[in-house]
Amino acid sequence: MGVLEIHNLRKSFNGTKVINDFSFDLTELTLNCLVGPNGAGKTTTMDLITGRQKPDSGRIVLRGDDITGLGEHEIAQRGIGRKFQVPAVFRDLSVRQNFEVAYSRQTNPFRNMAGRQPPGFAPRLAEVTDLTGLADRLGTEAGLLSHGETQWLEIGMVLMQDPAIMLLDEPVAGMTEAEIEKTVGILNRLKRTNTLIVVEHDMGFVRQIADVVTVMHMGSFLAQGSLREIEADARVREVYLGEPEV
């Protein structure tokens, strides 16, 4: 039994079946790469898991708890963190303030008016800044960070949430080689202590981080296994050869 189970998920937009009977299990403390050609439904799956879209049918179960149809913030509170493809940080706040907002153990607005950060913030911040290497950028306005730094900031923000599962949508899009290398390091450290789903196109990157690879095609589950098994899979080859981009 996985930490996150998806059963027979379906979702259509204007009659087009975007997610079609998709099922999936996520094992604790693994890094699962979700791959598939454009339009396979990867981002929509993310949207459905995090509550941004509501499924037409099917169930999403987190640690035995049915979270289907809950609001985004409720799902986030139950322990699913998400990083967007286009990095979404609060550009006019400082890096430190971004982390403070992300430390969302207390979400009641009236309790938060009291001002102080809940206990545990400082050690968590130290851990996260150490991991992301942003310790000396804490005072900088987030809008002034480089692209790579912004991506790490957002990963850091998701970590501040201390989620049971992290969903990362194309975390290395637009990064330089050196930045990708650093991100690989971060993710490989993370997967020792966290459960992750990473949506990615870049197979070279997938090779360096993935424990398990899941392939989606036309909104359905196609194959799952180690990267080697996937690369040997005939159906996967067929799907990918049909598409020019890998």
Partner: protein, 294 residues
């Protein structure tokens, strides 16, 4: 139901059509500008007002016939719009709240500028005698000028639809609306498309103004009377042409029918509340699509 009882209601429906046409032509320019450029133009009412003053000035100085005042007002206000777009709006395209505020500043300047030039006493626009009559079919009737407004509105809507859906320019507009960068890579100059659209939208307001100057009165403050209704039409319609047509039809008829059964003031209150409730359930209006996030 006796036919006799239905007469007031049918008359109210006919009148509702006229009110709808007035609100629609008031909202048309706003729709185009909002739908294409994404700017909420708070100075729209003052564009209407400038259009009315243009007609008044042309008529009283060089005696231009009323029917020629219409295109003249269109041209003059389009020019005003062009200047404002080039001088101000184009710097604010990515800042929707700021365009709202900046155009409100523009409205103050236009209103006060007109007041300094023309004074604050009311002016009027004369129309040919045949426009000052009433057409009656038995118990049903409507004034000729209201019919003229309905006809002009229909013609202008048709022309706008043609321009935006049947011409090369319209294709460019829609390409820019969908994806500015992609359109640019096909050699479409988004900046130019925005500029022209804004000018056309302003010009339509000017045209509406010269019609309203005949229905009511030409005053520096006249624009505010129409602009709230125009906004509601655009917001309810969701910013598309067909949306505005539907929204104007709906709200105009409701206003007319509510007024028949209660009174004008209460009808207006009821309409505002209905619109707020409607927006609660369709915050993006009648015809709008959700956007994806990557």
């Amino acid at each position: 139901m006796h036919l006799l009882d239905a007469v007031p209601l049918i008359n109210a429906l006919i009148l509702g059509l006229s009110i709808a046409s007035i609100w629609l032509i008031a909202a048309l320019g706003l729709t185009i500008i909002y739908g294409t450029v994404g700017v909420i133009n708070m100075a729209h009412g003052e564009f209407i007002m400038v259009g009315a003053y243009t007609s008044y000035a042309l008529q009283s100085s060089i005696g231009l016939p009323f029917l020629l005042c219409l295109p003249a007002s269109f041209a003059v206000v389009a020019l005003v719009g062009l200047v404002i777009e080039r001088g101000l709006i184009r710097y604010l395209y990515n800042r929707p709240l700021d365009t709202l505020l900046a155009t409100w500043g523009v409205s103050l300047v236009l209103m006060q500028g007109v007041r300094l030039i023309f004074g604050s006493d009311p002016k009027y626009i004369a129309v040919p005698q045949i426009f000052q009559d009433n057409l009656a079919f038995g118990p049903f009737g409507l004034s000729v000028f209201r019919l003229v407004v309905i006809a002009i509105t229909a013609a202008v809507v048709a022309a706008t639809a043609w321009l935006f859906y049947r011409t090369r320019f319209g294709m460019q507009v829609r390409a820019v609306m969908q994806n500015k960068e992609m359109a640019a890579s096909f050699g479409i100059d988004a900046d130019r498309v925005y500029m022209i659209t804004f000018a056309i939208g302003a010009g339509l307001a000017g045209l509406a103004g010269s019609l309203f100057g005949v229905l009511a009165i030409v005053l520096p403050t006249m624009g505010t009377a129409y602009v709230v209704q125009a906004f509601l039409v655009v917001v309810v319609g969701g910013g598309s042409l067909v949306g505005s047509v539907a929204a104007a039809g709906l709200t105009g008829e409701l206003q007319s029918v509510f007024a028949l059964f209660s009174n004008d003031t209460f009808a207006r209150f009821l309409l505002y509340v209905l619109i707020v409730v409607f927006l609660r359930f369709r915050p993006r209006g009648l015809f709008a699509v959700a956007k994806a996030r990557r």
